[in-house]
Symmetry: C2
Subunit: 284 residues, 2 copies
């Protein structure tokens, strides 16, 4: 039986991946989507590779049980740390991350080859962005800077105004001048794009991975004959591991539409966490 009518899974630590989901929804209007936000353990950006691998593999298994046909890892930190683990542990599930697309967008945008990447501490530590960019453009001059506070700022919804400008300014001041391309290397950061636009020199191109990832996923599914043939608009479902009301509130701001009736607490949730904590305890 064809899996073409099965949904596409989108995974993120929380709400940040909704920027990628938004682009996917536009690029693939007839697909069904299940979005999973790991709000019980977010943020991933300050956690270790090992922890992020564990969380990502568990999330992928959960989405596989929902019969997704493809997984988009819509979180830069998970993409930086956990794709090898996914290939090893959930090998039957096709997937893609967001870093390849972000790197590709940066290489397409730069004229002088000098690229700055703002990301979480974990993504910076992994070094993956610089590696992928240099694999596409060997002479690229890549600088990476961790900007953890921007995640909290976006989650708080303070995406413009004096506070956001003070924080973004301080991060930008830590970059060496001369770059002509700035990569938003975390899916939360595009929410702050108007502040970046205001504070960056006008000749700096600001790129993120959302639209490039969406295009790549659409291309991949088409090439594999995996697109959904239905002609009606696809369905959206949002699952979270904690606090669905909070996700719906912040998510509405990200998507510009109300999603409250589509958000549900699911396995991977607080109830399961309690069992996991007990299991964990009996193992320790």
């Amino acid at each position: 039986m064809s899996v073409n009518h099965h949904p596409i899974g989108v995974f993120d630590s929380g709400v940040g991946g909704l920027t990628v989901f938004h682009a996917l929804r536009e690029a693939l209007p007839h697909e069904d989507f299940i979005y999973l936000g790991d709000t019980a353990r977010l943020p991933y950006g300050t956690k270790s590779k090992h922890a992020v691998e564990s969380y990502t593999v568990a999330a992928a298994r959960l989405l596989r049980e929902q019969h997704i046909k493809f997984l988009v890892v819509a979180c830069n930190t998970a993409s930086a740390h956990a794709l090898d683990a996914l290939q090893r542990e959930v090998s039957d599930l096709p997937y893609c991350g967001v870093i390849a697309a972000g790197a590709e967008a940066a290489v397409a945008a730069t004229r002088n080859g000098r690229i700055a990447v703002l990301a979480t501490e974990g993504t910076v530590r992994s070094g993956v962005y610089a590696d992928v960019i240099r694999s596409l453009k060997t002479d690229a001059d890549v600088q990476m800077l961790s900007a953890n506070l921007l995640v909290a700022l976006a989650e708080e919804g303070w995406c413009e105004g004096a506070e956001a400008e003070a924080i973004v300014s301080r991060y930008l001041a830590q970059l060496s001048a001369g770059y002509d391309t700035l990569v938003m290397g975390c899916t939360h950061f595009p929410l702050l794009v108007s502040v970046f636009r205001k504070l960056c020199p006008s000749d700096v191109k600001i790129v993120d991975s959302a639209s490039v990832t969406a295009k790549a996923v659409a291309g991949l599914l088409a090439a594999r004959n995996m697109l959904n043939a239905q002609t009606k608009p696809g369905r959206d479902e949002f699952k979270v591991s904690d606090l669905p009301e909070r996700f719906a509130r912040v998510g509405a701001r990200f998507l510009g539409r109300d999603i409250a009736d589509k958000v549900a607490l699911t396995a991977f949730s607080a109830a399961h966490l309690e069992k996991a904590a007990n299991a964990l305890n009996s193992l320790s």
Copy 2:
């Protein structure tokens, strides 16, 4: 056999509880301490009561296995959400939280009975601070405001300067004027005290729960004849569930001394998380 020579356990979601640990260390120089920071799941302030209960109970069980004689829950969010669960699930372990002490300090400090509490979203949602303050002073006028960003700010180490001032100003502007006492209702916030001092009217008293909690714990142990009789300085041990090097780095800033050789990854760690994630998965 006497348990008096056993260590005191101190639990927090991450590094914030070190402000309480610091006061405990000063008040109880001959006690041994084991500090557990749940850096794999922090922050707790934006998570549900259920999730915070699960994490706190698991942490308490782990510390009990280390033979602690007393547990200090040095996290306001865990104190707000999980003390009932501790009493129910780990009933043989004596403990105290930090909210009673913070409330007591506020009631002792106020002259006009108008008290403002800045805390995490979870602590505010619980309503516990206002309940405890009113139980001590029935006519108290308590306002609570969640200030999630201050946690990220303290974790980033941006505890003074233009960014911290912009953010603290925005939160303070959301409070109704007239309060004469401001409670730092999250153990991270005392790190920003110089900014609060600069931006608050000079007649506003700023209180936190660290020293009052330390005094309460010392009194409790003395009353129960549980103090350690050793005359040499007590030992410190720090256990974390993820990224010990990060904890040591941020923790050194909190404590004003190097702790790198005393920090270790422990059960409740990433390795156990993986097993827990698998256990979780098989349950879902």
